[in-house]
């Protein structure tokens, strides 16, 4: 199914969870935050949260800034 992650179109397997998506993208869950369709997914729910077709996902972390 097609989703968008950080502005890029991606193709992922049906039934993938947030945890599975992070593993596929090789992103460690520490120090990051995710929102799906502008709704934050708490870290405690990464394992149970399923990603759906056309979901718009933002994965952020901290970078240098003032």
């Amino acid at each position: 199914m097609k989703i968008r992650v950080n502005g890029q179109a991606r193709d992922v397997e049906d039934g993938v969870t947030v945890k599975g998506l992070l593993a596929a993208l090789d992103i460690k869950p520490q120090g990051i935050a995710i929102d799906i369709n502008r709704e934050i997914v708490p870290k405690s729910r990464f394992e149970e949260t399923l990603i759906k077709e056309d979901d718009v996902i933002e994965i952020v972390r901290m970078t240098g800034g003032g």
Binding site: V5, N6, G7, Q8, L25, D26, I27, G31, I32, A33, I34, D35, R38, I40, P42, K43, E58, I59, V60, R61, M62, T63, G64, G65, G66
Partner: protein, 256 residues
């Protein structure tokens, strides 16, 4: 004699807060942060780069030593600033946020209306909000009334290095609010920092002034000393300014 800086529930010894952007290398940043003596360092929320795995910038910051203050830099609407603050809280498990809502790309001046709107929401959400604001006493009062933990008036535009352009307004802000007043943005060199502290400001947040200097580590130390010197001068009570001379040596006992 020096009391600690209290912001919300947090207490700090250092009155210099430092940004983590624009350093030539992470190694220089690390050394500059140490030289500054800062306890609070700001960070920005950005997308994870999916195309290449890069070590996290946080790998270079000792999070046991420094308190991270995430910002909402680059947000131009209240909605984006609120969303960014929420993401930062989730990522860092902190309620601390430097709230920045910009009105214009050229000046990077704050959008007052959006700032008040987002501050109201974030305070209700339990955030400890430190808003980047104009050097406007009325805005400062409104932000304090909303429950912000501090106010952070700009000295001059972000990254401009122009120094304290309106010391009189900063003084009025200091008389107007009870929360800490942290000068944020525009400090270019050590004397600018000293001027802000001599006015009675409770602290200074700076980034470009250090990161953009030829020797960021040297400038970080200079800023630390200037903030300490300025604070001490403020607490010690400067002499009044007079137009004419008054001799320092006794007028009696001069030889004839």
């Amino acid at each position: 004699m020096e009391e600690a800086l209290k912001i919300g529930k947090r207490v700090f010894k250092s009155r210099l807060m430092v940004g983590t952007g624009k350093y030539p290398t992470n190694e220089i940043m690390k050394k500059a942060l140490d030289a500054s003596g800062a306890e609070v360092v700001t960070v920005a929320v950005r997308r994870v780069n999916l195309d290449r795995t890069r070590a996290s910038m946080l790998d270079h910051i000792d999070t046991k030593k420094f308190t991270l203050l995430p910002n909402t830099a680059g947000c131009y609407t209240a909605a984006d600033a609120i969303r960014t603050a929420m993401l930062a809280r989730e990522a860092l498990e902190t309620e601390f946020v430097k709230l920045e809502v910009l009105g214009d790309e050229k000046t990077l001046f704050p959008d007052n209306e959006a700032l008040l709107e987002s501050a109201r929401v974030l305070v209700k959400e339990g955030f400890s909000v430190l808003p980047y604001t104009n050097d406007d006493p009325i805005m400062a009062r409104k932000l304090e009334d909303l429950g912000c933990a501090a106010v952070m008036p700009l000295a001059a535009p972000i990254g401009s290095g122009l120094g304290i352009r309106n010391p009189h307004n900063i003084r009025i802000i200091l008389e107007t609010v009870k929360v800490p007043v942290i000068v944020d943005a525009g400090v270019g060199t050590a004397s600018d920092a000293a001027v802000a502290m001599e006015l009675g400001c409770h602290g200074i947040l700076m980034n470009t002034g250090i990161a953009g200097a030829k020797d960021p580590v040297g400038m970080a130390k200079a800023m630390r000393l200037a903030v300490e010197a300025g604070r001490l001068a403020y607490l010690s009570g400067r002499i009044p300014k007079k137009l004419y001379a008054s001799a320092s040596s006794p007028l009696q006992g001069l030889i004839e």
